[in-house]
Every structure is written in structure tokens, then in C-alpha cells.
């Protein structure tokens, strides 16, 4: 997921590149052909994609933390294994995505440094806490559900490595979504305490999930270029509406109440109308003032810092091995 259209507005970068190449590039994109790493591409296209893919990768990695918070407390062995496997999948998504970003010329180390230095963004949703087991159900159902809405169109993104990574990722996200929903089904058919837990999780996650699609279309300045480049296929509001339309019936099936008194089906549009999103909260969380921003970054920095000696050791060992092999070859020759 988690593309969220966080990209800073594109400054009106002039394409200084060769007009010929540029025209050929635009034509290929317009014809739905894939751009591959060795193909010529405008610098702004490269920059936009690098930013989007790396934000997406960071989101997968930071996203391991809220769910990882419940691995050691999962209530059955089946749930424990499923959750551990899910969080592992998210790590795998992060790895594919960093690899896709690397094809554009930025190394994983560089991109991770940007995250740890507070210069890169990740999805706002992961700055909310997982307080009960029901949050694990709600995240799978809603957060992975929103991720799928965002990512399925990205499977047709003009940049080949990103599109291919998304195909693989989407398969796993739909599995996560079903698994999360199944947790919600179990809780909503459980004891009164479990039902209350499920409702409380929905109450807390619903609005932040709607924010995952990014600012409303009127406010989002960077949509147009990405749309023209076939990176973005649907606007933020279109995707948000799709998500609401898909999710409301699922909540009803669970017997849960959406935390939105203004939610009602609009016969004229055949869509669910919903209440106003608190965009101030969204801005605050993105600016670093969500409930868990500091904890998330502290956890990632700690893992990075505590692991430094391990990475150094691996490097030192690889260097020694190379030197030993070179010495052996010298003797053999």
C-alpha cells in the first residue's frame, strides 16, 4: 500500500532532456508500455518514483511494528503462526520494494538513512497503537484492505519493476485481508467482551484508514503528473470511495456499527456517503505528532543501531574471505 500520495508537490521541473527521447518516453507510457530500469526516463519521473516506492517500502517496514506488538501475545498457536507469517510477509514487501527503488539508482542504505533521519515519510496509519487483539483483526481487514485498493491499480504502473513487485505483494495483501476479517468474524461471534473489543477496534481504526488514501482531490497537487505518467490510475477520493463501498457491507455482516453517524447509502450515486474526515489529525500525524510516531522511529533506530556491529562483522568477514581466496589463487597460480 501505503503510497498515500505523500509526495511533496512537484516543483515545476523543466525537462531539459533531449526532446526526442522525451517524446518517445511519453509515447511509450501513453501506449501502456512498461518502462524498464535501463530505459531512458525523465529525471522527474525517476525522482517521483523513487520517492513513492521508497515511502512504500518504509511503510511496509514500519508497519511491522504495530502488528509485531502482538506476536508474543497471539491467543492461539494458529493465530501466532499466522501473525508471524504476516509480519514476515510485510518485511518481504519492504525488501522487494527497496530492490525496485534500487533499480532507479538509490541504494537501500541511502533510503533507510532518509527514513531514520526523519527525512522520508511512511504511511500515517502505522502511527496508531495496537491496544487489543482486535486491532490485529482490524488492521488486516481495514489497513490491508485499503492497501489492496491502493495497490491493485499499481500493478499496471508504467514502471516495470514497481508493477511486478505490486503483483506479488497484492496476492499476499488479499490473503492478509481475509485473515484479518476472519479474526473480526470470530470476535464478533464471541463473548460480549470480544464483541466490544471488535467494535472498539473498528471505532479507532476506521477514520485513520480513510486517511490512508491521502488528502482530498482538491488539495492534492501532485496527482496530475503521476496520472499522466500512468503511475497513479485513480484519484485519492475515488479510491477512498471504493474502499468505503466495499467495507460498509462487511461491517454490517459482522454486526458492527461504523463510527460515522453521517454514513448513508446514496441512491442517486449508488455510493455510500460518509462524514467529514478530520484532515487536521492527518496533517498532525504526518508532521510527526501522531500517537506513536516517536515510538516507531525509536524502534527502527534502535534496531538499526543495535545491529550495526552485526553488519560490520558480516562485512569484515566477507572482506577476510575475499582476501583469503585471493591469497589461495595467488598461490595456485
Amino acid at each position: 500500500m501505503y503510497t498515500q500520495a505523500l509526495n511533496a508537490p512537484q516543483s515545476d521541473e523543466r525537462h531539459l532532456e533531449d526532446a526526442d527521447k522525451s517524446a518517445r518516453f511519453e509515447a511509450r507510457v501513453a501506449n501502456e508500455q512498461r518502462i524498464e530500469p535501463n530505459d531512458w526516463m525523465p529525471a522527474a519521473y525517476r525522482k517521483t518514483l523513487t520517492r513513492q516506492i521508497s515511502q512504500h517500502a518504509h511503510s511496509e517496514i514500519v508497519g511491522m511494528l504495530p502488528e509485531g506488538n502482538w506476536i508474543t501475545r497471539a491467543p492461539t498457536l494458529r493465530r501466532k503462526a499466522a501473525l508471524l507469517a504476516k509480519v514476515q510477509d510485510e518485511c518481504g514487501h519492504g525488501l522487494y520494494l527497496y530492490a525496485a527503488a534500487e533499480t532507479l539508482g538509490s541504494s537501500r542504505e541511502e533510503l533507510v538513512d532518509q527514513l531514520l533521519g526523519g527525512k522520508a515519510k511512511y504511511s500515517s496509519i502505522f502511527n496508531y497503537p495496537t491496544l487489543t487483539w482486535a486491532d490485529i483483526g482490524a488492521i488486516g481487514w481495514l489497513v490491508d484492505g485499503a492497501a489492496i485498493m491502493n495497490q491493485i491499480p499499481l500493478c499496471r504502473c508504467s514502471y516495470g519493476p514497481y508493477a511486478r513487485a505490486m503483483i506479488r505483494v497484492c496476492k499476499e495483501e488479499s490473503f492478509h485481508q481475509r485473515q484479518g476479517y476472519e479474526i473480526m468474524v470470530t470476535l464478533s461471534r464471541g463473548t460480549d467482551e470480544q464483541k466490544a473489543m471488535a467494535q472498539d477496534a473498528l471505532n479507532r481504526w476506521w477514520w485513520p484508514c480513510l486517511m490512508m488514501f491521502g488528502p482530498p482531490d482538491q488539495q492534492s497537487q501532485h496527482g496530475n503528473q503521476s496520472t499522466r505518467w500512468k503511475i497513479k490510475r485513480f484519484s485519492n477520493d475515488e479510491l477512498r470511495q471504493k474502499f468505503v463501498d466495499a467495507t460498509v457491507p462487511q461491517a454490517r455482516y459482522l454486526g458492527l456499527t461504523m463510527p460515522d453517524p453521517e454514513l448513508r447509502f446514496n441512491d442517486a450515486t449508488q455510493h455510500w456517503d460518509f462524514g467529514a474526515i478530520d484532515w487536521q489529525e492527518f496533517a498532525d500525524v504526518l508532521a510527526g505528532f501522531g500517537p506513536c510516531n516517536r515510538d516507531r522511529m525509536a524502534a527502527r533506530r534502535k534496531a538499526h543501531d543495535d545491529g550495526a556491529w552485526v553488519r560490520e562483522a558480516a562485512q569484515a568477514y566477507a572482506d577476510k574471505e575475499r582476501a583469503r581466496r585471493a591469497a589461495d589463487n595467488a598461490v595456485a597460480a
Binding site: T72, R73, P75, Q88, T186, A303, K320
Partner: protein, 258 residues
């Protein structure tokens, strides 16, 4: 109100499956604690993989213990509703993760036993244990390879990694004797060909450890004093904390289905 612990009819076979199941669950749980916090993303993946293998082994062993017991227990009552004194895992596997060196040394000591153990257990006269062994053997071979490679890298890496790896060995060594523990119940199972005599594996275990430590330029401690107790439920203080976390939901919401 909290859910009380279950009672278990501890026949030799039930005990045998439970002990191996406890080893797998507790070590798997420890490895899962790394998830999201490992030194590199590749290790987040690898540690989760090993944790998943071990939790999978625990589930099969618990299911078999429950079946052998023939009462109302399930894999989940066995995992979630036994107290610290009823757990029968090796002290080695309940030791905290510590730094990455300690986690890898703990894994090496365990896997260097588990790998030949499961291979030998494929010949068990008990078809369920033989089937569990066949699956676990493939997994433990990978765990052993992974841990060995890391111990070699750390031992022969930097001064700091060498020091950390040696410290981990010195701290964990006393827990390795228990790998070869046998009691009267086990002896009967060994006689019937259901279990194998772990003494048979001491040679190959020592050899594996010696080879890896030598390539890693690390030292086997001189002390042969060994701490025992896990197989009889005499644990370190660490296990109670692990279980209070692992069991928290099942204990707080009696009778709920998850």
C-alpha cells in the same frame, strides 16, 4: 477471574511429546521476539522463518501429546494453560535473546542437536513421531546451517563481534548438557524403539560444535559443569515472564474462542 491451569496425565509418551513441543514453542517464541527488530531485514525474515518452523513443530507435538493423553486437551490448552512448573523445555531455549550473538549461539547449540536428533527419530517405531521427525529434520538442517554461518561470521568478524560471540558461548555453555537428558520414562520409550537414546548424538553434536567454533576462532569453555532442571519443570526466572506474555489473553478471557 482468570483461567486456571490444566492437569495432565503424564505418561512417558505424553511427557516425551510435551518436552519436545515445549522446546520448539519456547525457542520459536523467543525467535519471534526479534520480528521487526533484527540487525537487517534479511534477518527479520530468517528469524521469523525459523520461529515459524518451530511453532509448527510445537503444534504437531502438542496435538500428538493431547491425542496420546486421550483427555480433552488440545494444542492450545497445552500451550496456554500450563504454568511454569508444568513446562518441560530445556533451560537453553528459554534464555533471553540478548544480543544477536547470543541468539545465534543458542540456536547453534540447539540445532546442532535437533538436526541429527530428528534425522534419527525418522526411524522411530511410532509413526506419528517418525512423520514429525521427517518434516522437522529438513527444517532443523536449515536452522543449523544458518546459525553456523552466523557464528563463523561473528567469531571471525570484528573484535567486537568476536568478543560478543565468545561471551555468549561462555554464558550458554552450562545449558547444553541438558540436551542429552534421559529419565526413566524416556528409557522405556528408548527400549521400545519409540525414542532414540540422545547419548548416541553426543559425538556428532560435539564434533559439529568443535568444527564451527574452530572456523569461528572461538573457544569451547573448559568448565563441564552443567545446569539441569528444565525437563522436570525447574526453570530459570525467565520462563515465567515469557509465559505471562504468551498466555495473557487465554488467562484473562476464560473460555473465549479466538
Amino acid at each position: 477471574m482468570a483461567t486456571a491451569s490444566i492437569a495432565i496425565v503424564e505418561t512417558p509418551l505424553v511427557n516425551y511429546a510435551l518436552r519436545r513441543g515445549d522446546d520448539a514453542l519456547i525457542l520459536g517464541h523467543r525467535l519471534s521476539e526479534w520480528c521487526g527488530h533484527a540487525p537487517m531485514l534479511e534477518e527479520d525474515m530468517a528469524l521469523a522463518n525459523m520461529g515459524l518452523d518451530l511453532i509448527g513443530q510445537a503444534r504437531e507435538l502438542y496435538s500428538y501429546a493431547a491425542q496420546a493423553e486421550g483427555a480433552a486437551n488440545t494444542e492450545d490448552t497445552l500451550a496456554y494453560l500450563r504454568d511454569v512448573r508444568q513446562y518441560r523445555n530445556l533451560l537453553l531455549v528459554e534464555q533471553p535473546n540478548g544480543d544477536f550473538a547470543r541468539t545465534m549461539l543458542r540456536q547453534l547449540f540447539y540445532s546442532a542437536f535437533a538436526d541429527p536428533y530428528w534425522r534419527a527419530m525418522m526411524g522411530s517405531s511410532d509413526p506419528t513421531l517418525a512423520a514429525i521427525a521427517a518434516k522437522s529434520e529438513k527444517e532443523s538442517a536449515y536452522h543449523l546451517r544458518h546459525a553456523s554461518e552466523w557464528v563463523i561470521r561473528l567469531g571471525d568478524g570484528t573484535e567486537e563481534s568476536h568478543r560478543r560471540a565468545q561471551t555468549a558461548i561462555d554464558e550458554l555453555w552450562a545449558f547444553t548438557g541438558e540436551l542429552f537428558h534421559v529419565d526413566d520414562g524416556d528409557a522405556a520409550l528408548i527400549k521400545d524403539g519409540i525414542a532414540i537414546d540422545p547419548e548416541r548424538l553426543r559425538g556428532v553434536w560435539s564434533e559439529t560444535i568443535a568444527t564451527v567454533l574452530s572456523r569461528a576462532t572461538l573457544q569451547r569453555p573448559n568448565s563441564d559443569w552443567m545446569q539441569q532442571g528444565g525437563r522436570a519443570g525447574h526453570h530459570s526466572e525467565h520462563l515465567g515472564h515469557l509465559l505471562s506474555e504468551l498466555q495473557s489473553l487465554q488467562r484473562s478471557f476464560p473460555g473465549a474462542t479466538w
